[in-house]
């Protein structure tokens, strides 16, 4: 009988059982060529494993040990983890020092014009009014009103997040779906870099998306589908 290579590999890795295993045993007893191929599989595996084994005997670098021992309180890198925490201006200050204050002032100004776009809730800062509506229904390809929508993606908890850009106020940010509202993860000043702003153009927003995203951003079709499913 001929044994295909995938099956032989599976055998070599000890993953075959029962009748299939016995079948290969029989074939091996009769076929020197097959025994040679089996040996090649085992040798390759041994070679692969020994090529990287150095890491097991080398001392672990200090920085990795330090990372593993770092107290959790000091960990503010991953924005996704911040979602459980309540929002406060002081916290933001620590994270995005230069933008926080300007932002809050900016928000205050905007709120005079229309219904407020933000409110504080149990989730921290959440979207309201035009922002909430845009996050709910607007697609990246739609014409921007007060809000322009950028990337939509899923975070590592599987929740939908979207980047947005306020057409007045030079502010861009990221919001994630949480308890039927949009919890603001980050906002940043996007005014630097010229009069025409692209969504998510601020480095803070880009890097927070990179920290939060799981998989690829949604394409236009999945974005529409997610919206039609109400971001659940």
């Amino acid at each position: 009988m001929s044994v295909d290579d995938e099956k032989l590999m599976t055998f070599a890795d000890g993953e075959l059982t029962g009748a299939e295993h016995a079948e290969i045993e029989v074939a091996l007893a009769e076929d020197a060529g097959l025994r040679e191929r089996l040996e090649a599989h085992r040798a390759m595996r041994a070679r692969l494993s020994s090529a990287f084994d150095g890491a097991l005997s080398e001392p672990v670098p200090e920085r990795l040990l330090a990372a593993a021992h770092k107290p959790r309180e000091a960990e503010v890198v991953d924005l996704a983890a911040r979602r459980a925490a309540k929002w406060s201006v002081r916290e933001w200050g620590a994270m995005a020092a230069s933008v926080a204050l300007g932002l809050v002032i900016g928000v205050g100004t905007m709120q005079q014009q229309t219904r407020p776009m933000f409110a504080t809730a149990a989730e921290g800062l959440v979207a309201r009014g035009a922002l909430s509506q845009a996050l709910d229904t607007q697609l990246a390809s739609d014409a921007a009103g007060a809000v322009r929508i950028g990337l939509s993606f899923r975070d590592q908890d599987g929740d939908y997040c979207r980047t947005f850009d306020l057409t007045q106020g030079a502010t861009s940010g990221v919001a994630c779906r949480e308890n039927e509202t949009w919890a603001i993860q980050l906002m940043a000043d996007s005014s630097s870099g010229g009069e025409i702003r692209t969504v998510g153009s601020s480095p803070e927003v880009i890097s927070s998306v990179e920290a939060m995203i799981s998989g690829e951003p949604l394409d236009a079709t999945s974005e529409r589908a997610a919206r039609d499913a109400n971001w659940r």
Partner: protein
């Protein structure tokens, strides 16, 4: 932090050598490997409460490490940077250490692994380098076991071609 989480933390520390080995197989670069392990450790600690005691810590950490690598590779591409080629290892570190790095990275097996498509490389790294069973490797990668098996077979076939004989 709960005592269960503290226990997990010390288990993570004990896993560091294996995480480094896995990351080296994934990235083919000593410096990149440690960067990725660091990111993975930070992420694991942030989600330490999500780890279920009694399930396999190694699979969980491999999965986080692998995702850290995918994310890092993607964001570097976006920023227009590529991973440091093996020769760039000479600029990292200094003196004898850099030389050792460069030599190691120039190893046939390291070079051949770097040539493999990501999907095959991660399958090979989990099974052949880390010794995970197919089921565990498939779970760590979030793919069906049949997918894992065929990626592994294709990867090993390509390595066999690149590395010539079995020795």
């Amino acid at each position: 932090m709960t005592s269960a989480a503290e226990q997990t933390r010390s288990d993570i520390v004990a896993m560091l050598p294996r995480l480094r080995r896995f990351a080296r197989a994934l990235t083919g670069s000593l410096a990149d490997a440690d960067d990725i392990v660091q990111i993975a450790v930070e992420r694991a600690l942030m989600r330490i409460d999500q780890f279920q005691q009694g399930t396999r810590l190694d699979s969980w950490l491999f999965s986080i490490t692998r995702n850290a690598w995918i994310d890092e590779a993607r964001s570097r591409t976006r920023r227009g940077k590529v991973f440091a080629p093996a020769e760039a290892g000479e600029q990292v570190g200094y003196g004898g250490e850099a030389e050792v790095h460069a030599k190691l990275e120039a190893d046939d097996v390291w070079s051949a692994m770097r040539e493999l498509p990501t999907e095959q490389r991660e399958a090979v790294a989990l099974v052949c380098v880390e010794g995970l069973a197919y089921r565990e490797a498939a779970d760590a990668l979030g793919v069906p076991i049949g997918t894992l098996t065929s990626r592994l077979a294709r990867g090993r076939e390509a390595l066999q071609v690149m590395l010539g004989g079995a020795t």
